[in-house]
Symmetry: C2
Subunit: 341 residues, 2 copies
């Protein structure tokens, strides 16, 4: 990308000039037969594999706020949320498309930083940018990403295959992203929680290892919130779940901020969303294999409950009482909540 | 989709309810292994084929105007513009993703009609809807479509492979879509040109037949405008082109509206865009094969010029003089032009 001044606008370069600049920065991978610059891209799927695909649309003012994030992080996060979906299927990320609509007054540095962030995280996970679409927006910035992955059919992990008796595991420490957003809105720009919100790490290697070892019986990534996403697993699998409140792994930063004398302190960990951690189930007799597998990663894994035959999710306190009062998670049209970055 | 009153809003149904309603209307195809309802969809590519993919983002107020089009046509057109890209590669459409962002006040009938139109044209071309994303918009409606196609590597037709001496062909009658938009803005809602603008026919069967017969040496669809899209072929192929003004096929409606005493009457046919006709090149000795192939379709095909070694595109009058003064076509950030539906 060209780097001129902040005042350098896209109108000076034109749509095709902008696309050419992106194309020149993309490093080709052997599976990509036709990349940026034709009516469609063409790629090869390894023999014996299925193609997997996921898409996310991110809107300025709904999913991100340009006063709270920079273009580079936004580029990374835009691909990360899709990488997280491919990870949750136990698949290997492969290639992606980028659609980008923005006002013609958008500074080139923002666009250049966005593309740099997207290409950088793509490179970290072997994802080539193979095409897309750019257009003018009369509203804010709109980002559309479509990501492809590949995996053998028998190794793909779905949501609908959890079985009663399976243990429930979660990676990392949910709630940090929602805490990070809260801190950002309070003017705090630093710290681990803020970083988790602005630049989440998709658990690609962990998801792939769980699939290759055939340990996970069902898997999802936490985008809507832990309880809501667990609800997707239980509903699709026609099972229920028991979750132990004191087993929810909380980060030091989270504990320091909320204290946990009152159950309300758990609200963001259970319903905050945008964690992009993996939530998965595994047969109880394979607990030690799960722990051994995560020994090779820096990522924590915690057992938080088990799958039951009784529909619904019961949250239990350390004394065994049912805990009520936590929202089910994020629904774009039913619950008023805002994302940022 | 449910059909209640115009006042029935998405908030009554919720995001997941809306997705469930769409999922129930989708007819599965054998290649789709995982459809709507997981973190990602999974599909099979026929052995020996590459996967092709294209994406388009359509924004209210930029690409369409809801006062000039209905939800059903918009749904059809949203997929049609992507089908046209897959057609221009000579590939067979396969499956698609839909991202949809809209204000929570959007009437359910509009959304329901949109999905109905999209699924209907999908059914006409064997395209299954396999996933997507829905979210709230604080601006207008935003539509993102990603379409997959399949084709054997040797049969895919690119832009970069036109050779000097090749003839240039175009399907249908370019300019009708731009005329249709002009008429719509003047309050006229009927007629062939308006229909071509609101509900263009992607030339899928024609593109596939050209690829299977290996007749087309290079191909593109006309989205930006005939001269602009021909410019993409000549630039990518490192060649030039000669185009004969009087050979440009114009519809009766177009001729009746503009008259063609003055060359200005050709402006929309040469630069109007959104025709979604195929523009392709073929070796001169295969002219009769091209004509024979199109004998099986209702679609007209016209020879309009030839590929040359001299860079650039020269437009020639019937007396052999070079004609100047036609814009090169549409660039989202360089030229002021508006789309509607």
């Amino acid at each position: 990308m060209m780097r001129k001044s902040e005042n350098y606008r896209l109108a000076d370069l034109g749509e095709f000039g902008f696309i050419d600049q992106i194309a020149r920065r993309v490093r080709p991978t052997p599976d990509i037969k036709i990349g940026i610059g034709d009516d469609a891209a063409a790629f090869r799927i390894p023999p014996g594999c299925l193609a997997l695909t996921t898409t996310d649309m991110l809107l300025e003012g709904v999913h991100f706020d340009l006063s709270l994030c920079d273009g580079y992080s936004l580029g990374r996060k835009s691909l990360a949320v899709n990488l997280s979906d491919i990870a949750a299927m136990g698949a290997k990320p492969h290639s992606c498309l980028l659609s980008l609509a923005f006002p013609e007054t958008t500074p080139m540095t923002l666009l250049s930083d966005f593309v740099a962030g997207l290409l950088e995280i793509g490179g970290e996970y072997g994802v080539a940018l193979i095409g897309g679409d750019t257009c003018a927006s009369r509203g804010g910035v709109v980002i559309g990403i479509t990501l492809y992955g590949v995996q053998e059919p028998d190794k793909i992990v779905q949501r609908c295959t959890a079985r009663p008796g399976d243990l429930i595991f979660v990676t990392g420490s949910p709630g940090d992203s929602a805490l990070g957003l809260k801190l950002l809105r309070d003017g705090i720009r630093e710290g681990r929680a803020v970083a988790r919100h602005l630049d989440p790490t998709p658990r690609v290697r962990e998801g792939l290892a769980l699939a290759e070892s055939e340990l996970a019986s069902a898997m999802i990534d936490i985008s809507d919130g832990l309880l809501s996403d667990l609800g997707h697993i239980t509903k699709k699998s026609s099972v229920g779940a028991r979750v132990y409140l004191e087993k929810i792994p909380l980060s030091q930063e989270y504990r320091a901020y909320f204290g946990l004398e009152e159950k309300e302190g758990y609200a963001l960990a259970l319903g905050g969303g945008e964690d992009y951690e993996l939530l998965f189930t595994a047969p109880a007799h394979r607990r030690s294999e799960v722990e051994a597998l995560f020994g090779q990663f820096d990522t924590a894994v915690s057992e938080i409950g088990e799958i039951t035959t009784v529909p619904g999710i019961r949250l239990l306190s350390s004394s065994g009482e049912v805990v009520h009062g936590f929202a089910a998670g994020f629904d774009h049209f039913s619950v008023r909540r805002e994302h940022t970055s």
